[in-house]
Symmetry: C2
Subunit: 374 residues, 2 copies
């Protein structure tokens, strides 16, 4: 099984300091995938065949890696899973031997440079926050996903965030998400000066309720004073696939709903077309002739091809694939993490936020507060 070649790293990319002298190592949690650890491990082998260095956490005897391929990846036997926990935060605290916790610790301790977790956003987020920790000045991590827009070449994409790390958001969170998304679009997707839009129910700046209006005002002010992004204002639901913005910012509740809705509508529509192509002899013949072209459209929007969402805002990169992915999707997730680590997505995100003045200010310490004024 082959993978589409990744475009070469941009020449301006700064290598990840921690990975100097070699490719980054990706810590992968095998627990939690719908198809079990075997499928994640198989994905790791595919990614390794593409050059990824993988440190695999999970039940070693359930990974199903043939002895002849054992040396392709490094395995840490970690059979304890908290992927199905209803309360991932408590589970992460209470279960230091859980595979996701061990994988996150490997990243925190520098034994790996990025984390891939098949066991759900909640567990990845909690394990990341407790072990890898929040990056300096970040209010909250966010899940960001670059989505392909089907249509004529050249291929277009839009990066949507937050797609589910935080159900609720405040103004300062959304402002940071805008710069985090812009850093992702310029670092990984090579967009020179990303156009950033704020998802709302109308294009006018007054639309969307207080949170959207205030966020829009602050983004407009901060964008004017920096080069990191162009703020295009409010965008509507239809604009997500309309090419008017490279990055679209929203809270994790709306973003998650939008992401799953896009996938659902696409699948339902392709299914209806498939059914329509079975409805008559004429349609069946047409469907058979058109099949290769339709397959191209379907592959273009295939979530597995994308590899999942970036978890941004921790001190190292995370990637969260869908739990229902096959090995192909998990391999893409690992390659996505590898590429993000190589291009120092975390460091460049930090620089973007710093230049925009969008980092959280450290609270004034008691000592500093009591200093006499000059």
């Amino acid at each position: 099984m082959g993978f589409p070649p990744h475009p070469p790293a941009r020449s301006s990319a700064r290598p990840d300091d921690r990975a100097v002298g070699g490719a980054p190592i990706i810590a992968v949690d095998c627990n939690g995938a719908d198809m079990g650890p075997t499928e994640v491990a198989a994905g790791a082998l595919l990614a390794a065949a593409e050059g990824a260095k993988v440190l695999l956490f999970g039940p070693a005897d359930e990974m199903g890696i043939p002895p002849t391929l054992r040396e392709r990846v490094e395995i840490v036997n970690a059979p304890v899973s908290i992927a199905k926990s209803a309360d991932p935060v408590s589970a992460v605290r209470a279960t230091p031997e859980a595979s996701i916790v061990l994988a996150a610790r490997a990243v925190a301790e520098g034994r790996a440079q990025a984390l891939v977790c098949a066991g759900g956003t909640g567990a990845a987020l909690a394990a990341g926050l407790f072990n890898i920790k929040r990056a300096k000045g970040i209010y909250r991590p966010a899940l960001a996903i670059p989505l392909p827009i089907p249509g004529p070449s050249p291929a277009r994409s839009v990066t949507l965030l937050d797609v589910g790390a935080n159900a609720e958001a405040r103004r300062e969170h959304l402002v940071q998400f805008a710069f985090m998304g812009a850093a992702l679009a310029s670092t990984v997707l090579g967009v020179e000066r990303p156009r950033v839009g704020l998802l709302s129910n109308g294009e006018e700046a007054a639309r969307g309720g207080r949170l959207i209006v205030e966020t829009g005002e602050e983004l407009a002010a901060r964008a004017r004073s920096g080069e990191a992004l162009e703020f295009v204002g409010n965008v509507e639901g239809g604009d997500v696939v309309g090419g008017v913005a490279d990055v679209i910012v929203t809270d994790g509740l709306t973003g998650n709903i939008a992401l799953k809705l896009m996938e659902g509508v696409s699948q339902t529509l392709l299914g209806a077309i498939r059914d329509a192509a079975m409805a008559s002899v004429r349609a069946r013949l047409g469907g058979a002739l058109l099949r290769p072209a339709l397959r191209g459209v379907r592959d273009e929007i295939d979530p597995e091809e994308q590899g999942g969402a970036y978890l941004l805002g921790l001190r190292s990169l995370g990637v969260v694939p869908h739990g229902r992915f096959t090995r192909r999707g998990f391999a893409q997730a690992i390659l996505r993490a590898q590429r993000g680590a190589c291009e120092d997505l975390v460091g460049r995100t930090q620089i973007t936020l710093e230049h925009a003045g969008a980092l959280r200010q450290a609270p004034v310490s008691a000592e500093a507060a009591s200093l006499p004024q000059a």
Copy 2:
């Protein structure tokens, strides 16, 4: 141009009291449509040909109705438009001669039984609130739209609300929206006991932030004590087209984004397939053979075929079509309003809310509050 026949009114439908003795009259505001008053007037003529009684407000000399057809609809010359106003609330207050205000007043005064407005949600909502007034016990009107789910017959649909009347919502608003949507689904779509879901970023009751969690708890409690609906709990974005619920409740910001996203994704995907069907001789031949079947899918999800959204929560029914509709969509909007008035959608919504105990309680008056306790 023909229209698909509407299914016959359900035998249990109680006729609108105000329309006893004749078909309801629909007040239609012609101003604000992208294609101008001519297109709305043409839609009114199409609806009249299907039996609708129409009272048309707008610039009489721009309606382009041929003298031979003038008697098919009643025209009120109302050239003043506030459809493009950035602040519809102020515009409605300041412009009593605006066509939308005159149309809403006709409904308020019983000269018409339902309102159709091509000039945008904001103007329809403000004119409706100030003239037709909120129905008793309703916190806020909501926009509800039944959406077809493409796929094999029998045709399925899902009613989404609020799709944009209120950008922000509180718990008690969302609870009312659930019963308003259920009344719509049972009255107009004939769904016996609608399954109602709450849009969230996960199926677990704990997902979605405080508003969703608290709304879910109240809906579950109220649904248990009534027959009007079955509450299926949280549903995800993909479930909107998954057939797991007949009615899906969300705030107007998320609902509007979801609605426009669905339309955008569908159009983009159909466009990509059209392009793919031009890519080679083989694909072109396949596309030509498949065209009738594809057209069926496209027509099935065509927003014009639906006629727009129901504006629920006023003392009379409103219908808000897209401003970009052609005459076909405006005709459907008028027929939708006519059918809703015939089946007393407003009265039945009120009964549903009352039985569920979801009506707003009248504030205790000063006199009642000072009565001595028994």
